[in-house]
Symmetry: C2
DNA sequence: TCCCTTTATTGCAATATTACGATAAACAGA
DNA sequence: TCTGTTTATCGTAATATTGCAATAAAGGGA
């Protein structure tokens, strides 16, 4: 009891929920929007920009990376994180399709 | 320690993450997709369609309702749940804008 | 009124998430 | 090599989420 029953759901439902779960925290939404608007993508800048301690930010970055929403590459002494277009495209397409199929038939 | 520090983030980041959190579970993704493709929207049908006990499904439905993703109305003996176009439109627009702004500049 | 059906709520155990201090790892420059 | 800078990991406490049995609530029909 207590754990999500992933084995009872389809791969598609598990994949979509995993992608959405990666963005289901204000810090991670803030990171994505920050990377979107800023030139730099240095990890330290992200840490400075968020109201959380460095280990906590590192943890959030790892979750975004694991979900494929961002990717990181070594840039000298620091790490450069940036957005993965493919993952964001997937989300855009998903909600685009979803919304186009909704017909307010009841309620 | 342990709780998300919502008061440290902007309303926008909190609102977006709350909307995404409502979909950050395979059962809730499955419910939304089920409502999208099916004629009926009776609560009992949703319960029958998911591999979870009735109280658990009821809990997931409440979370979707609280987030404004679905809405319910009394339909005789049962409750009819259906999708809220506005919430899905918000998500579609959000990722549409996000994806259009991404420029693969680094990494 | 008394059942029966349908959905919501309560209470609780199991598990996951969040946050952070301490510390490790990797590496550049003196 | 030693030192400082940057990022990741470990360990752990606080809190949240998930799932379900039991039960309540609401209403329809006999």
């Amino acid at each position: 009891m207590g754990a999500t029953k992933y084995d009872q759901f389809s791969d598609h439902h598990n994949e979509m929920s995993a992608l959405l779960k990666a963005l289901a925290h204000p810090a991670r939404v803030a990171i994505v929007e920050y990377l979107l608007k800023v030139e730099s993508c240095i990890c330290g800048d992200i840490v400075d920009h968020l109201p959380l301690a460095q280990p906590t930010v590192s943890q959030h970055l790892r979750e975004l990376k694991n979900a494929g929403i961002i990717q990181g590459s070594v840039e000298g002494t620091s790490i450069c994180y940036c957005l993965n277009e493919k993952a964001l495209g997937k989300l855009k397409n998903y909600f685009g399709k979803l919304e186009s199929k909704v017909k307010s038939k009841c309620c």
